[in-house]
């Protein structure tokens, strides 16, 4: 047993982080948020999508003989964690999951989305939809970087389609990345911002908010990485539950640490919160995950 990241995994993690910093850094993020095509009309950056394809983001788990990278869920989780950190937009999970089945998905030439519960993300931008999006109506998405449609009556039965379990894990990985990022942002701000003649991070109340954020992040990390290794459906549900909680609550605490500045559009923290809300609605939601985890207690 050695649960730590291997050197290769560390290299992958760093590689994806660098790629995203270069191609989707803060300026690019803000341009996307403040650009004209935000909201229902948000447009996907096709060039970036293909670059992600070239870098193997979508083909990560395809066998090498099929042109893939031949890696597994743990590596995919590391890549999606970075995507979550960077607030990378687009139907990343669906396109990744479609790499083996939808031609062009693996290379980033085609954009694939999927119906998840009653919601579909990026429907207008997608070339292909997994699931039945008939009758989908656009929604004024709370997240400026995730256009949404709602498919009335699509909320499925109790048994999700086979893709649902890995989709839940990759979503959890994105949430984990976001939770880690907001922790760092809160800590940095707390160290810089001065009030009453000292950094606010020297006040115990702020300190403890930050400590709670780290505890949530590291617990979610253990859950997500563990679920990636075992691939068990119930463990993945647990990872999603804890990562959703970490992402949403950390974003809120990060906002609280930022005070009034956190309430502005210019601060990134609201983008993390809104995206975390969107991801928390993907299957399994908190309620669904708790039920799955309860049923497994035997």
């Amino acid at each position: 047993m050695d649960f730590r990241l291997t050197d290769d995994q560390r290299a992958l993690q760093e590689g994806v982080r660098k790629l995203l910093e270069g191609r989707f850094g803060r300026e690019r993020l803000r341009a996307a948020v403040d650009g004209p095509g935000v909201g229902p009309e948000a447009s996907l950056d096709r060039a970036l999508w293909r670059e992600l394809g070239d870098a193997g983001f979508f083909a990560l788990r395809l066998p090498e003989r099929d042109g893939g990278v031949g890696l597994g869920l743990p590596e995919a989780v590391l890549a999606f964690e970075e995507a979550g950190r960077a607030l990378l937009p687009g139907p990343l999970v669906a396109t990744h999951l479609a790499a083996a089945t939808v031609p062009g998905a693996a290379t980033g030439e085609r954009v694939v989305t999927r119906v998840d519960g009653e919601l579909v993300e990026w429907l207008d931008a997608a070339d292909h939809v997994l699931g039945n999006a008939a009758g989908a109506v656009p929604v004024r998405s709370v997240d400026p970087l995730t256009p949404l449609h709602r498919v009335p009556g699509a909320a499925g039965g109790d048994v999700p389609e086979p893709d649902a379990v890995p989709a839940a894990l990759l979503t959890a990985a994105e949430q984990l990345g976001s939770a880690g990022r907001t922790t760092e942002a809160a800590v940095r701000y707390a160290g810089e911002r001065e009030q009453f003649g000292r950094p606010i991070g020297s006040f115990q109340a702020v300190k403890h908010l930050c400590a709670r954020m780290l505890v949530r992040t590291e617990t979610a990390r253990a859950a997500v990485y563990g679920a990636a290794v075992t691939g068990e459906a119930v463990e993945i549900a647990g990872a999603k539950l804890l990562a959703d909680d970490a992402a949403v609550r950390n974003a809120r605490d990060c906002l609280q640490v930022h005070g009034g500045m956190g309430f502005t559009w210019e601060a990134d923290v609201h983008l993390h919160l809104k995206r975390a809300w969107v991801r928390a609605e993907r299957w399994p939601t908190e309620r669904e995950a708790a039920e799955l985890l309860a049923a497994a207690l035997r």
């Binding site: 730590r4 020297s202 300190k207 403890h208 400590a211 617990t219 253990a222 990872a239 035997r298």
Partner: protein
């Protein structure tokens, strides 16, 4: 990220499992919790069996009489003994997990050969004299004084929260040998001594906890003479000597407890299914959430153990993250038990009700959650110290 065990580790597990299966049925019945001599005898007999089977001091270095097991093997040992329902380390705790490793790391050869073998064989047990009524979170403010007098220290003061004091042979004692002053911060003038519990001037008074039991004691020291040869490390260097062992923690501290919590959680689900509370969505989902929680805590344990295995010793910092989450989760577990039991939660005949009372100490003992959050914020996250 590898959660599979090596062939060697699996062999270790299989051998241990077979030994446990063969050994446990032959154990005598557990003593009454209030029978301290009986508990000492039971716990040390178990230690002797471990010793004879080659499991004593598993994680101790070989030159200290141990087996130099890896953190992973230690994890397997703790997991399997808990799963099998083996006796706890009990009265041997301080000797095996704190005083012993401290002596092994900082003691002289003579000290090692005097004190370590009896610990491993279950011949002698140790207790811990660190906390004082006025030195809890702020351990460095301890006031028990030791004055050098010829070849001995004369010690006067009092200690609290000393488990097994009534039946211990030795006490690892922290004393102040230099008064605090503007130039001498609290943690600079502390010395580590091995106190023989039968020394004249030592008295012990059981301390009743809110659970109604006396798992702890107060210890009063009235001009107790402790030979200077019983000092481990240099005079005034006891703080560092003690911290050496704390940083020796290998992520395994709560392995048995997490395994036990997961078993309790399954039992709670069964009880809820039995008494109808399972139909309450809130109760059921609370148990589901705790399933996620304790699975994650198990993975976090494996993470910390993996770090310790490679890096040698988990910094206390990951320990703080773990302890914060774990102690709250464990309290929530017993709150959930109360909800499952309903009115039965008020009945002390249910173990869960008694355990709920004990669980109230988790966010206090061995560093309150408030202190742990300070540690995480300042040492892990690098936030500035408050003034």
């Amino acid at each position: 990220m590898d959660l599979t065990y090596t062939e060697e580790e699996e062999e270790f597990r299989a051998r241990l499992r077979a030994w446990l299966a063969a050994t446990l049925p032959g154990l005598p019945p557990r003593p009454d919790p209030r029978d301290w001599p009986g508990r000492r005898a039971y716990d040390t007999a178990w230690q002797r069996r471990l010793y004879d089977a080659g499991y004593a001091g598993l994680h101790w270095p070989a030159d200290a009489g141990g087996h130099g097991a890896t953190p992973t093997q230690h994890l397997i040992f703790l997991e399997e003994t808990e799963l099998a329902g083996a006796p706890y380390v009990g009265a041997n705790f301080v000797g095996l997990l704190h005083a012993g490793p401290t002596i092994a790391a900082e003691g002289t050869r003579a000290q090692c050969s005097r004190w370590l073998p009896p610990i491993l064989r279950g011949d002698e047990i140790w207790c811990q004299g660190f906390s004082e009524p006025d030195a809890g979170s702020d351990l460095a403010s301890l006031r028990t004084r030791a004055v050098r007098d010829g070849d001995a220290y004369v010690v006067t003061g009092s200690k609290i929260w000393t488990s097994h004091a009534e039946v211990a042979d030795w006490c690892e004692l922290l004393v102040r040998t230099r008064p605090v002053s503007a130039d001498v911060p609290g943690h600079r003038g502390i010395t580590w001594l091995a106190l023989p519990m039968n020394a004249p001037g030592v008295s012990v008074r059981p301390l009743r906890t809110l659970a109604g039991t006396t798992e702890f004691a107060e210890m009063f020291l009235d001009e107790v003479r402790v030979p200077a040869a019983h000092r481990v490390g240099e005079e005034n260097d006891g703080w560092r000597v003690t911290m050496v062992t704390l940083s020796f923690e290998r992520g395994t501290a709560f392995v048995g407890e997490v395994v036990a919590c997961r078993r309790t959680l399954r039992a709670l689900a069964e009880a809820a299914r039995g008494n109808g509370r399972w139909d309450d969505q809130e109760v059921r989902r609370t148990l589901g959430r705790l399933n996620a929680e304790f699975t994650a805590l198990w993975r976090l344990t494996q993470w910390n153990v993996s770090e310790a295995q490679r890096a040698g010793g988990v910094p206390g910092n990951s320990g703080s993250v773990f302890k914060l989450r774990y102690s709250h989760a464990r309290q929530e577990l017993y709150d959930a038990a109360a909800r499952v039991l309903g009115p039965g939660g008020l009945d002390l005949s249910h173990d869960w009700t008694a355990d709920r009372l004990s669980s109230l100490s988790y966010t206090i003992a061995a560093g309150t959650s408030q202190i742990q959050r300070n540690i995480v914020a300042e040492r892990v996250l690098g936030l500035p110290k408050g003034r």
